[in-house]
């Protein structure tokens, strides 16, 4: 059975149209050649990045905010006059809020009044990642829970899912509220969520997180948990450490030496 006239004309017409169409569109349909990639030589590589906060040292420097100031400056974090609009990556929390289930009173005497430095815990089992519909937040292979502002649609599921209040929503355009813009780091727009990223952009250049670098007392220690010789492992081996809300099963990777 041959094909009938009507079918033949349809096929011929479509073929001609597609040929002309492609010509007209030119090469723009072809895929861009992959540009070449090179690894940054001094990039810091870890398998499970984690932070240790030595509260004993923080306690001595009661109102020190060097870590917070450094983070704010590097990441263009706006300072709003209204606490409802607040955007925070690393901040201080009362002990009772940071560790609501911790046995306290006499056991941790002296610590109860110390403001606790808190940030995103880069949980090993992060609920924020599970709920994000666009994968704007995801866990990297080295454990960093990242935000991709390009993809965030501002649904704030993650804000609801994070049990540590580590995520901030941009209710207002942040740019006018940034004292001095660091041109090496973008600002954000209204309608995206942001949080601490363990300074992924600095690790890529071989630098330690800004807060760690800024803390002269060395109360913040950053390192690779999977490396048994790392400073974080040594500290956890030799000291008693607690984590925030461990009963929730999120497996936070920020440890507090008490």
């Amino acid at each position: 059975m041959g094909i009938d006239r009507r079918k033949f004309l349809t096929i011929a017409g479509l073929t001609a149209a597609s040929v002309i169409g492609r010509k007209a569109l030119g090469d723009s349909l072809s895929v861009a050649p992959e540009s070449n990639l090179l690894p940054e030589e001094n990039r810091l590589i870890g398998h499970r990045w984690a932070m240790v906060v030595d509260l004993r040292k923080c306690k001595e420097q009661h109102n020190c905010t060097k870590c917070i100031d450094a983070c704010n400056a590097v990441h263009n974090i706006p300072q709003f006059d209204n606490p409802k609009d607040e955007v925070k990556w690393i901040w201080k929390e009362h002990f009772k809020e940071a560790f609501p289930n911790q046995e306290k009173e006499y056991i941790l005497e002296g610590l109860l009044e110390t403001p606790i430095t808190v940030m995103c815990n880069h949980c090993d089992n992060p609920p924020c990642v599970r709920v994000c519909p666009t994968q704007a937040t995801w866990k990297r292979e080295d454990g960093i829970v990242m935000m991709d502002m390009h993809r965030c649609i501002g649904c704030r599921y993650c804000v609801a899912a994070c049990p540590y209040g580590s995520r901030s929503f941009n209710w207002r355009d942040p740019r006018p509220f940034i004292k001095e813009i660091n041109k090496d780091y973008p600002t954000r727009t209204r309608g995206v969520v942001e949080k601490c990223n363990f300074c992924a952009e600095r690790l890529a250049r071989g630098q330690m997180p800004a807060c760690v670098e800024a803390c002269e007392e060395k109360a913040l220690i950053f390192g690779d948990l999977e490396d048994p010789d790392s400073e974080v492992r040594a500290l956890l081996r030799e000291n008693f450490a607690i984590r925030r809300k461990p009963n929730l099963g999120t497996n936070p990777e920020v440890y507090y030496i008490v």
Binding site: A32, S35, N36, E40, W138, R140, H150, D184, A204
Partner: protein, 128 residues
């Protein structure tokens, strides 16, 4: 159908008239106004060839974005072997610091206007 012939002829005339600028440009091989982006830079070479950049800079930027943010790869090797940071502000705008005369010249012409990249990515000259 009444007056089918007249209607079709009318339609054809209408279509020809409304698309006449396109035909005119096609026939004459040039458009009336051509954007003139100004390149002011001490650099001799871009991160990719000129032809490539002219046609595909948006693809390159998309690729850089995904590589840097999602895959943590931040170094681009140019065809001549030089290394560049994958950074819109730090690398692209460092050379093309005259955004208004360079980027905007074509973007406004082609009605791509101001892509929302600039809502977050800093334009050095505009930072106080």
């Amino acid at each position: 159908m009444y007056d089918a012939g007249k209607i079709i002829v009318g339609l054809i005339i209408f279509l020809v008239l409304i698309t006449s600028p396109v035909w005119y440009n096609m026939a004459s091989g040039k458009s009336e106004v051509v954007p003139q982006p100004k390149i002011i830079t001490a650099e001799k070479e871009c991160v990719m060839g000129t032809e490539y950049m002219r046609e595909k800079h948006m693809d390159l930027l998309n690729e850089w974005r995904d590589k840097a943010v999602r895959e943590g790869e931040r170094i681009h090797a140019a065809p001549n072997g030089r290394k560049f940071n994958m950074s819109l502000t730090g690398t692209c705008l460092n050379c093309h610091s005259n955004k208004t005369e360079f980027c905007d010249a074509c973007h406004n012409y082609s009605a791509v206007g101001q892509p929302y990249c600039w809502d977050c990515h800093n334009i050095p000259e505009e930072i106080k």
